[in-house]
Amino acid sequence: MKLLLVSALILCSSVVSAQGKYFTRDGHVKFFSATSVEDIEARNHKLTCVLDAASGQFEFAALMKSFEFKKPLMEEHFNENFVESNKYPKGTFKGSVQGLDGIDMANIPSGTNVVAAGKLEIHGVVKELELAATIESRDGGYAIHSTFKIVPEDYNIEIPNTVRDNIAKVVDVTVEAQLKAFNR
């Protein structure tokens, strides 16, 4: 009887925890621009990311000034000329992870493909996007990985003629986040 009760409690707790919110404040987001002139990479290890496992609601946000470049001049151009970080300090995605209905949220196998559909806002411009992503259960939470492409021009990011050949027309973005349970 005791064993049955303990088992029931464990089962209930895993179901309850799998239905709450999961978050991180130190997700990774990276973008990579490759041209024949040079490759440019910037990393931000302070991505805030939240998933509501019950509804599938999913958000992430990053400060533009937290992207770190190898060279200070690149970082300066990025913040001052391209994304105008003082005016538009954040990049955000707000949407929902689709296709979770048939998934056992307490035990998502590695490499499970999902789509996060929502709105990406960069440089004050909002675009509807569908992000291909993988999700898996890990360490009592979820590991999320997504790679997608953005076209700077779509977000009214103007590249001056002097460096036009240095910046790719399509930039690769990678998002990685290990979400843990939000227990409040």
Binding site: D26, L63, L73
Partner: protein, 143 residues
């Protein structure tokens, strides 16, 4: 006269190219060598942003801040410490990435002082989380 002018022009071009090269390929300044503009407790700085984000942004962003407080969490890459969160509350934190990975030992909950460039505040008023994060980049451990 013509030779002098040619020599002067060539010298100017060479200096210009060297300066441009120096600026283009210059590394980031070492934060550890720069005096902090403000020295604060982690709770104070987060609270200032929560109280008035616009004023705190004008005061702190792009400035070097020296922040003290307890280590909430440590992130390691290849067994070296690359970033840490400073706070007693995981929803209200200062998140600092280090300019150079730290090879020593640090323990969670121990007090630390970190200096870094403030890149802003990621508040969560519009998202699904309460609280917010003050972000530091190119951080350096003071003690």
């Amino acid at each position: 006269m013509k030779r002098t002018l040619t020599f002067g022009a060539l010298t100017a071009i060479i200096i210009g190219v060297l300066v441009a090269y120096q600026v283009s390929f210059k590394d980031h300044d070492d934060t550890a060598d720069i005096e902090a503009a403000h020295k604060l407790n982690c709770e104070e700085v987060v609270q200032e942003f929560l109280d008035d984000e616009t004023a705190a942004t004008a005061k702190y962003v792009d400035q070097i801040l020296e922040i003290n407080g307890p280590i909430l969490a440590i992130e390691r890459t290849d067994q070296q410490i690359t970033s840490m969160k400073i706070s007693m509350d995981e929803l209200y934190v200062v998140n600092a990435t280090l300019q150079n990975p730290f090879e020593g030992e640090l323990e969670e909950s121990s007090e630390i002082v970190v200096k870094g460039v403030c890149s802003g505040f990621l508040g969560d008023a519009e998202s699904m989380l309460p609280g917010g994060v003050v972000e530091l980049k190119r951080g350096s451990i003071i003690k």
